[in-house]
Amino acid sequence: MADETTPQRAPESGSHSHGPSSSGPGGAGPRTGGPRSGGPGGPGGPGGRKFFRRKKVCKFCTEKIDAIPYRDVRLLQGFVAERGKIVPRRLTGVCTTHQRRLTRAIKQARNIALLAFAARY
């Protein structure tokens, strides 16, 4: 049915050729392209790559670390970049709840001068 309609539409509107002709497969495209990009976009993160990286596991979930204390500088330093910025969770693979707790702990540690706000001029 779509094959029947698109040849009729194409000669009808020349200027709209991009519209309907692209809306045929294009209408189906973004619809499947949206959830599709949500698939690899979930674990890998939209980095412009077509293949998605191996699913990184959350370190805290696997090691069953419940509390993330701000005092544990060594643990927190693994999630802080060289300049002192907090590393996004798409790079570390941390799950959302733990990332939030981690962020809170890092900010508390920064306040008590255990971690720097900004390092390296």
Binding site: D66, A67, Y70, R71, Q108, R110, I112, A113, L114, F117
Partner: protein, 148 residues
């Protein structure tokens, strides 16, 4: 309602240890006078600060865990703010966190108990199945030669 707080503060590095102890004793007095309870005092020692605070590059870290209510904590913070040797402090409320951790531990304990009952049966059971396959193997081995 008693809430549980962690107070960490940094004392200037050029203050004597005796003075640090005096300071901590004074804070302890404040807590007990206000009706709170000091759970523990921990001196984390001299550490290098991540950034310069009041022109100091290192400081003496002290951690207090306190059971107190809000007003007492406000008073404690006021004292820390006013006291000259303390250069930085942070108060973190830990009671909700503690509740959550206890809940998790309780869940894990119940899980372990259930699985501990099974291994209680299971050490009996693996001992039994270990014995049983041996016994089963023997009768089978006996049976097969018997049948064979």
């Amino acid at each position: 309602m008693e809430r549980f707080y962690e107070v960490m503060f940094i004392v200037r590095p050029d203050i004597e240890d005796a003075d640090v102890d005096k300071l901590i004793a004074g804070l302890e007095q404040t807590i007990t006078n206000g009706g709170g309870n000091l759970r523990s005092t921990e001196k984390l020692g001299r550490r290098k600060l991540a950034y310069t605070v009041r022109k100091f590059n290192d400081g003496n870290y002290v951690l207090l865990t306190v059971d107190a209510d809000g007003k007492l904590v406000a008073e404690l913070e006021r004292r820390l703010r006013v006291s000259e040797p303390v250069i930085k402090f942070i108060t973190v409320r830990m009671d909700e966190e503690e509740k959550r951790l206890n809940k998790i531990k309780a869940i894990r304990a119940t899980r372990k108990k259930i699985s501990a009952q099974v291994p209680a049966a299971a050490p009996v059971a693996p001992a039994a199945p270990v014995a049983a396959p041996v016994e089963a193997a023997e009768p089978v081995a006996e049976a097969t030669p018997a049948t064979a």
